[in-house]
């Protein structure tokens, strides 16, 4: 075998490997789409639906449709969800966007102090932030419950079963992001801010007018990462949000899969309709995210 043939064989091998791998990886997506279009509520198991029906999609979008109750007589009834499941997707977007914006504000300001200012216990605080954040959020549920129950007695819209309450709790998860932003700030030389100070700008002005505009990429990364992690957050949301019109996507999607009756069709339609936009946005922002990942964020 010549050297050229050797390389060619390797290329064919690499393509074959990648294509086989991709088929394995992507088949689940095809099956979910097929399950969402299939009549009846079957677990995803076919590449192509045998009998195409848009009923599940209609259900998720909150459009009423006719369902055959008795095949012998052809009797039908109108099915319409009390809460259109796509509302959960919208709730998730609201909660995740607000929480991520809050996270950016809280971690951005704190990161500035850690990167640019000198104060006592600075490095100790930084390490403590990182170590304490390792405590899993799920196990804080008892305390979260106590806090929200208490808050709700005085401020109704901040209590249990409210989205602002859930957002408030999400705002605690800032330490990874403080580290990421601080790392980015440190790569920007302080000389520009220093010369602005000499020209009479206040510290706050140098932060807002000089450092922030230069750091937009890292804020984009933090926003995307925190947005994604809150879109997928299940346990806290499931305890805090009790009524179904408040649910987030994660809680709602899981509610279709009761132990007794698993509504795979409806779940699949919801997964497709809400998963596609998020995936597309993520892929569009891919470049940003990859840059940020190498500075140490773990998707949750």
């Amino acid at each position: 075998m010549t050297a050229h043939q050797k390389v060619l064989a390797r290329k064919v091998g690499a393509h074959a490997f990648l294509i086989c791998f991709l088929i394995l990886i992507l088949v689940p997506f095809v099956m979910v789409i097929s399950a969402s279009l299939r009549q009846g509520n079957f677990a995803p198991s076919r590449l192509l639906p045998d009998k195409v029906s848009l009923d599940h999609w209609k259900f998720v979008l909150g459009i009423p449709y006719q369902e055959v109750v008795n095949p012998a007589t052809g009797e039908t009834r109108t099915v319409k969800p009390s809460t259109p499941p796509l509302l959960w997707f919208w709730n998730s977007i609201k909660v995740s966007v607000t929480a991520s914006a809050g996270i950016i504000f809280l971690s951005g300001t704190a990161a500035y102090a850690f990167a640019r200012l000198r104060f006592k216990f600075r490095s100790t605080t930084l390490s403590a932030l990182l170590i304490l954040q390792m405590f899993p959020m799920v196990l804080s549920l008892v305390a979260f419950y106590v806090i929200l129950d208490f808050a709700g007695q005085y401020v109704k819209w901040l209590g249990l079963n409210t989205q602002p309450g859930l957002i408030m709790i999400y705002l605690g998860g800032i330490s990874n992001y403080i580290w990421m932003i601080k790392g980015y700030f440190e790569t920007i030389p302080a000389s520009m801010e220093e010369s602005a100070r000499i020209d009479g700008a206040s510290q706050f002005q140098t932060f807002i007018r000089i450092l922030l505009p230069m750091s937009l990429p890292i804020f984009a990364v933090v926003f995307i990462l925190s947005f994604i992690s809150y879109m997928s957050e299940y346990p806290v949301a499931s305890v805090v949000l009790q009524s179904s019109d408040n649910w987030t996507l994660a809680v709602g999607a899981n509610s279709f899969l009761y132990e007794q009756e698993k509504l795979w069709g409806r779940f699949s339609a919801l997964a497709v309709l809400s998963g596609v936009p998020i995936t597309v946005v993520f892929l569009l922002c891919q470049r940003f995210v990859i840059g940020g990942l190498t500075s140490g964020g773990v998707k949750e």
């Binding site: 991709l22 300001t109 200012l117 809400s274 990859i290």
Partner: protein, 515 residues
């Protein structure tokens, strides 16, 4: 310091935040939570000081973040460590005072006087109770107006309502409700928990649905904290280790209360075979699962990254984008999708395997089947992250070293094991450790995919695939006898393990040195 010259914009902003906050503190104080009000007041003063005085300048940037962190990360940890030293479960739910008050409200019927009753609904929505002695209809009593919420169990902590004698011929105002009506409108539910005092001081309460009878409090409180039963003279005293009132035979009486028990919960983890057996089994699985997950995702991610780094390969970018897809889809959705695909009877995976081999693994009922499924799903979820990280690292390796080794007549495999891997591993160690720690606490995956199942034989609520964090969650929230104290103790142990991991990681990265 303000942005536009002399205008005190900062002071106004501070006032806009502080004033409503002070109003809130006032409300909380008025409601009787003076300690919490005090704590809030201190935080508000601190905040006002930081934002108004130049001395607090640095902390202006830190205050909001650290406040949020303190409230939603540090407070829960402190609270949990505190709970871990207490007995606090569904059987020991109330504070001691409430538990004592409940006992003190217990009454027993005395004498033989019984009363017919009527409820009068007043125009303003309040109620008046009317009583008439069954033997002597001239003895009639009427209460002050009081409020009732239909169908709602009364907490039983109100003071007894005052009854006054009704003069002969005097009528009660309002719309009378007969007994049947009271029953139908579910008013008897809150009524049952209420006591009324006759002019002489004798208490009366509902006896069944039809009538009222005079009753007396069952327990009298002795100076030493014990209680004496008026009917039979038995004495019970609180046992603060047990969290119950006990009689002289050690039998529990009344409702349990929360109590401080020191290290009991921790000792239980180590000694109680019902906890200890599952605990160590779950601990081993958690470690094994985390290690395997890191190893698998890293290997696959690394191989893909290396293959995609090959410059002459066509469609590299298309491959890369498609390979990232599992990372882009929200994990909750993908986990639930896999739950369907791996469905033992109807799922795609088993239909496919049955079609080819005629047999299929039991993903749901066999512990090792379930574990394999979890690792496969986690591989699918996790390899893109490792691939992205490795790609970033690979690009930082200068290509000249490969050229040098090519001259020596090397091949790709040798290159990989002798050049790439040794160069990549050291900077990747911190990422591998944090990935390990993340998987160690990957609650969602297990909870949504298997819910811990299949059940561990003889392990109580423990499941074969439960991670420590799921097991703790089950003890705290899903067990029929939810046990917050024990769950908190396990959570504390868990926190120490993961905290140590994070600390090691910090030391290894030397991030500290750079600060």
């Amino acid at each position: 310091m303000s942005l536009n010259g002399g205008f005190p914009i900062r002071q106004i902003l501070v006032a806009l935040v502080v004033l409503p906050a002070l109003y809130l503190v006032f409300n909380i104080y008025q409601a009787g939570n003076s300690l919490i009000a005090l704590a809030m007041l201190i935080v508000i003063c601190l905040g006002a000081f930081i934002y108004l005085s130049d001395l607090g300048y640095t902390y202006r940037y830190l205050f909001p973040g650290l406040l949020g962190f303190g409230l939603f990360v540090i407070f829960p940890i402190v609270y949990m460590v505190f709970l871990s030293f207490t007995k606090y479960s569904s059987q020991n739910l109330l504070y001691f005072e409430r538990s004592l008050a409940l006992l003190r409200q217990e009454t027993f019927p005395v004498g033989d006087a019984t009363y017919k009753y009527k409820l009068y609904l007043e125009d303003d929505g309040t109620y008046i109770l009317y009583l008439e002695n069954e033997k002597d209809p001239t003895k009639r009593f009427v209460s002050e107006p009081f409020e009732l919420k239909a169908g709602e169990q009364s907490k039983g902590d109100q003071e007894p309502g005052v009854l006054r004698a009704l003069a002969p011929g005097e009528e009660v105002k309002g719309r009378p409700l007969e007994v049947a009506q009271v029953t139908r409108e579910k008013l008897f539910i809150p009524m049952r928990g209420r006591q009324f005092a006759l002019p002489g001081g004798t208490l009366v309460g509902m006896e069944g649905l039809q009538k009222f009878a005079s009753r007396e409090r069952l327990w009298t409180l002795n100076p030493d904290g014990s209680l004496t039963n008026k009917k039979d003279g038995a004495v019970i005293r609180p046992d603060f280790r047990l969290g119950f009132f006990v009689d002289k035979n050690g039998e529990k009486v009344g409702v349990g209360f929360r109590t401080f028990t020191g290290l009991d919960n921790y000792i239980r983890i180590v000694t109680d075979p019902r906890i200890q057996g599952p605990f160590f089994k779950i601990f081993l699985w958690t470690v094994g699962y985390s290690a395997m997950s890191v190893l698998l995702t890293f290997s696959v991610g690394m191989v893909l990254a290396v293959v995609l780094e090959w410059k002459d390969l066509r469609f590299r970018n298309t491959y890369r984008t498609l390979l990232i897809l599992p990372y882009a889809v929200p994990a909750v959705l993908s986990i639930l999708i896999f739950k369907g695909l791996f469905n033992q009877e109807f799922g795609a995976v088993n239909q496919f395997l049955r079609g080819i081999f005629g047999a299929a693994p039991e993903w749901e009922t066999n512990p090792w089947g379930a574990r394999t499924m979890i690792l496969l799903v986690n591989l699918w979820l996790g390899y893109p992250y490792m691939m992205l990280i490795c790609t970033g690292m690979l690009q930082s390796i200068p290509s000249t070293i490969y050229e040098a080794s090519a001259i020596d007549g090397s091949n790709p495999l040798v290159d990989f094991f002798e050049l790439t891997l040794p160069l990549l591993l050291p900077p990747l160690v911190p990422i591998l450790i944090s990935s390990f720690a993340f998987n160690f606490n990957n609650f969602n995956l297990i909870y949504l995919l298997t819910a811990g199942g299949p059940k561990m034989v003889g392990g109580g609520i423990a499941g074969e695939t439960d991670l420590l964090v799921n097991y703790t969650f089950n003890i705290a929230f899903r067990d029929s006898g939810t046990n917050y104290g024990l769950a908190s103790a396990i959570a504390t142990v868990l926190f120490i393990i993961v905290g140590l991991l994070a600390w090691t990681n910090l030391k290894l990265t030397g991030r500290n040195v750079k600060i």
